[in-house]
Structures are given as structure tokens and as C-alpha cells.
């Protein structure tokens, strides 16, 4: 008797869930500011939406916040760039599986006057050492984002304690990439940024790329489906469809075809 009742209840719930899924043909994508600010998502998403009828609602925040939001179940798919944090997210059971999607690179941007004399270099660690030596102003995201984590790794490698310089020549904005670039532009400071956001950025002022091409500045993006076992509300079927599309020929092609000022900003590398 009880068994039948529970089964009926489950069936009713299943119907409701199914109904809700058909009705809500959308997914929430927790992603980073770089993919949105550069215009990449605006370029690739219409193709997926036209093909599947699934609307992709993008919440663009720093990688750290995107991961926290996804942990809370407030997103179906995560598209971010902090490999270690992504792998931990999956290992802790919050995500199903992590896939490489695309890459680009970070660049060190700074004032044309270049007080630390780092322009033209390809060694990021040497450049950071020179900046610290010159106590030239450096602006950091300071927001636990993918770019912030990447920047801190380089400081560590340069063996410089930026926490000690915080508030002095080292300024942490605690903001997104664009807001941080605005600060750097305003005070003519050095700043580490992903290349895509930099190229798309409209307020470059007196700043230019000074250091690029260091293999340590490689910037990998990954995609993860939020685990529906942890959060039953996750739109797993639609989310998986998006991931399959993104990693497939069409999605990868769409990423490769995105250009700004004639430059390719993201390089697909799904396997």
C-alpha cells in the first residue's frame, strides 16, 4: 500500500519535473567575465540556441564566484579557467566531469613609459621581479578569479610577497577584469590580464602589452556539468547537450571563428 503510494508520488513528481523541463528550455551558465566581456559568448551562443531551442542564460562573474554559485546549485554548467579549482570541484562531487574547451593566454600590460623596463620581454617572472624592484604600481584583481590565481602563481614563482606590498605599490581592486583594467588605465599601472579581455577593452589609455609569450601564461578553459545528484534541480539533459555541442565540431568551430580586430582570441582544444 505504502509502496504504491510512494510510487504514485514519484511518478507525479517525475511528470512535474518532465513538464518543467519541457517548459523551461534554458540553462544557466556560470562563467567568467573574460568570455562575456570579450564578446565570445555573444558570438557562439546564438548558434547553439538556434540549433537546439535551448536558451543559455549567462551569469558572468569571476571564476571563484562562479564556482561558489555552482556549488550552491545556482547554475547548470560551469565554464571557467582555473584548472586546479575545477578539478577540486569535480573531486568534491559538485561537478560530473571536467573537459578542456579552449585556451588563450595572459599578457602583462603596463604604461608605455614602462618605469620597470620590462617591455618586449617574454619572461613573466623576471618582469614581475623588476616591477617589485622598481616598486612600480601593479594592479591585481584580488578577487579569487582565474586570472587572480594565475597572477599569484607567478608572484610565488618570483618569490615576492605581494601581501606585504598590499596598499603600497601592489593594489588589489577586488573587482572584475574590466574594472581592474579601468583602474590600471587610470593610474598607469602594470596589470596581468587575459588577452581576450584586453583586446576587446575600450579604455586602454596609455597602456600596452609589455610581456607576452611565456608558456607560464597559458590560460586553459574548462567546462563542467553541475552534478544533478548533488542538486536535483540541475537541468542535466540540456546542460549535457550544451557541453556536447561546445566540445563538438560545431562549437569548437564557432570558438575558432570568433575574431576581434582580425585576431583570434580563443583557441579550441577539446579532445
Amino acid at each position: 500500500m505504502v509502496g504504491i503510494r510512494i510510487r504514485t508520488l514519484l511518478m507525479a513528481l517525475g511528470l512535474m519535473a518532465g513538464g518543467a523541463q519541457a517548459e523551461e528550455a534554458y540553462i544557466v551558465l556560470q562563467s567568467t567575465t573574460s568570455t562575456q566581456n570579450s564578446g565570445l559568448l555573444d558570438h557562439i551562443l546564438p548558434g547553439f540556441e538556434a540549433e537546439t531551442g535551448i536558451d543559455v542564460r549567462v551569469v558572468a562573474v569571476g571564476t571563484g564566484q562562479a564556482i561558489r554559485n555552482a556549488r550552491n546549485g545556482d547554475g547548470d554548467v560551469l565554464l571557467v579557467h582555473a584548472r586546479e579549482a575545477e578539478e577540486k570541484f569535480v573531486a568534491d562531487g559538485w561537478g560530473v566531469e571536467r573537459f578542456d574547451v579552449m585556451y588563450n593566454d595572459f599578457v602583462l600590460v603596463g604604461p608605455k613609459s614602462d618605469p620597470a623596463k620590462v617591455g618586449g620581454g617574454t619572461d613573466i617572472v623576471a618582469a614581475l621581479k623588476a616591477i617589485a624592484q622598481a616598486t612600480a604600481p601593479f594592479v591585481s584583481r584580488g578577487d579569487d578569479s582565474g586570472t587572480h590565481k594565475a597572477e599569484l602563481r607567478q608572484w610565488k614563482e618570483a618569490d615576492i610577497d605581494v601581501a606585504a606590498a598590499s596598499g603600497g605599490w601592489y593594489r588589489e581592486t577586488g573587482s572584475g577584469m574590466g574594472a581592474t583594467l579601468n583602474v590600471a588605465s587610470g593610474m598607469e599601472a602594470y596589470v596581468l590580464t587575459d588577452r581576450a579581455t584586453w583586446i576587446a577593452f575600450g579604455n586602454k589609455g596609455n597602456l600596452e602589452i609589455l610581456v607576452e609569450g611565456d608558456p607560464r601564461l597559458f590560460n586553459q578553459y574548462g567546462v563542467i556539468l553541475v552534478n544533478p545528484e548533488k542538486h536535483p534541480g540541475v537541468r542535466a539533459a540540456a546542460g549535457q547537450r550544451f557541453i556536447d555541442w561546445l566540445l563538438g565540431e560545431v562549437g569548437q568551430g564557432a570558438i575558432a571563428s570568433f575574431r576581434l580586430d582580425g585576431q583570434q582570441l580563443f583557441f579550441p582544444n577539446a579532445r
Binding site: G178, A179, A200, G202
Partner: protein, 226 residues
């Protein structure tokens, strides 16, 4: 400026969503805040001064804190997560109601308190209890209360801290004027951001002018009838 003209339909959708969210929030805040403020004005109970100070202080609620609190409530992991309201206009309305209600309540309290003093003899001679006089007082003060609503609307339409957290600034879904301005600023499109800001200010002026025209007319009619 060219971009604004080109993106006409899109821009209008954003403007309309801004108005929809903020006007709805002000409407709900009025329904909650006005009776609350009026009741506070006419009632007498121990600790009333403290409540008044608190309501006045809540006028200065930081939007980003309200956004965070509403996010924690509406998140799938939060107590109201099952409602799936996060990243919807409804979530933005809820956050703005929290911000605007104290403003409406505090300003209503002030207006009604002055009016109640003025009318106290009359109301007492008619044998009306303090709380029962609330609807009459609100009706009589309606023109002064418009300012309270406009103050609330100004707060709602201008804030970005709360709506960007609970709305997520999702294109075509929860993107409003202030979050668009924040986005364009972060893209370094400062001229576009500034132009959007000018439009936002224009909307605020238009709404205020409209309300002022309506209340002037009402005042005029009130005078001719009396």
C-alpha cells in the same frame, strides 16, 4: 551614441525591464510600507522611538548586502531555493522591495505623524481610535506621500549592487539599465556607459515630471472642489 541608436529594440527592452522591476518594487513597498509607517506614526508603545530609529536607519541599507541576503535566501541551497526565483526579474523585485520599503515607511511615518497632530482634536472628538484613523490620514496625506514613493523609486531605479547579484545581469532576462552600465564600464566602453547613464537620468526625470504633473492636477482639482 551610434550604438545606442542601432541597438534600439534591445535598449528599449532593457529600459522597460528597469521600469517594470522598479515600479513593481515601489508598488509592493507602498502596500507594505505606507500602512506600517502610518501605524508607527499614530501608535504609542514602549520602544517606539527605537523602532523609528531602526526604520530610519534601514533607509541606508547597503544594496550589495541586501543582494547577498536575498541571494542566500533564493539560492538552490537556500531556504527558498525550490521556488527557483534566483536570476529572474522576480528576485530583483524582491531585493528592491527590501531596499525601498524602509524608505516608504520612514517617510510615511514622518508625514502622518505631523498630520495626526494637526487632526488629533478632530479625530478624538469623533471617537476614532488611533489605528482606525490610519486610512483617513493616509488618504489625506496622499499628495505628500507621493514624494515618499518617488524617493523609493529613485533608490530602486538607480541601484545596481542588489540586482546584479540576484538577477545575474543575464542578457534578455535580467539585464537592466544599471547592470548594463556596469557591464559597458567593465568593457571599457566608457562613452557608451555614460550615454546609457544619461538615458537613465532622463527616465528618472520623466517619471518624476509625470508624477508631479498628476499630483499638481489632483491638488488643483481638490482645491476647486473644496
Amino acid at each position: 551614441m551610434l550604438l545606442i541608436l542601432q541597438g534600439d529594440a534591445e535598449l528599449w527592452a532593457i529600459v522597460l525591464l528597469s521600469l517594470r522591476v522598479s515600479l513593481m518594487a515601489v508598488l509592493i513597498s507602498a502596500v507594505i510600507g505606507m500602512p506600517l509607517g502610518a501605524a508607527l506614526a499614530v501608535s504609542r508603545f514602549p520602544g517606539r522611538r527605537g523602532v523609528i530609529v531602526l526604520v530610519n536607519a534601514l533607509m541606508g541599507l547597503p544594496p550589495v548586502v541586501v543582494g547577498l541576503l536575498v541571494y542566500l535566501m533564493l539560492s538552490r541551497s537556500g531556504p527558498l531555493g525550490v521556488l527557483q526565483l534566483l536570476y529572474t526579474p522576480t528576485a530583483m523585485i524582491i531585493a528592491q522591495v527590501v531596499l525601498v520599503t524602509p524608505i516608504v515607511a520612514a517617510l510615511t511615518r514622518q508625514v502622518i505623524e505631523m498630520l495626526a497632530e494637526e487632526y488629533s482634536e478632530q479625530l478624538r472628538s469623533l471617537g476614532v481610535s488611533r489605528l482606525a484613523s490610519v486610512p483617513t490620514l493616509l488618504w489625506d496625506a496622499r499628495l505628500a506621500l507621493v514624494t515618499a514613493l518617488l524617493a523609493g523609486f529613485g533608490r530602486a531605479i538607480a541601484e545596481v549592487g542588489a540586482v546584479i547579484i540576484v538577477g545575474g545581469n543575464i542578457n534578455h532576462v535580467t539585464r537592466v539599465m544599471t547592470t548594463t552600465i556596469a557591464l559597458e564600464t567593465s568593457r571599457g566602453n566608457l562613452a557608451l556607459a555614460l550615454a546609457l547613464g544619461a538615458i537613465l537620468i532622463g527616465i528618472a526625470v520623466a517619471v518624476n515630471a509625470l508624477v508631479s504633473a498628476v499630483s499638481l492636477r489632483a491638488e488643483h482639482e481638490g482645491l476647486t472642489h473644496a
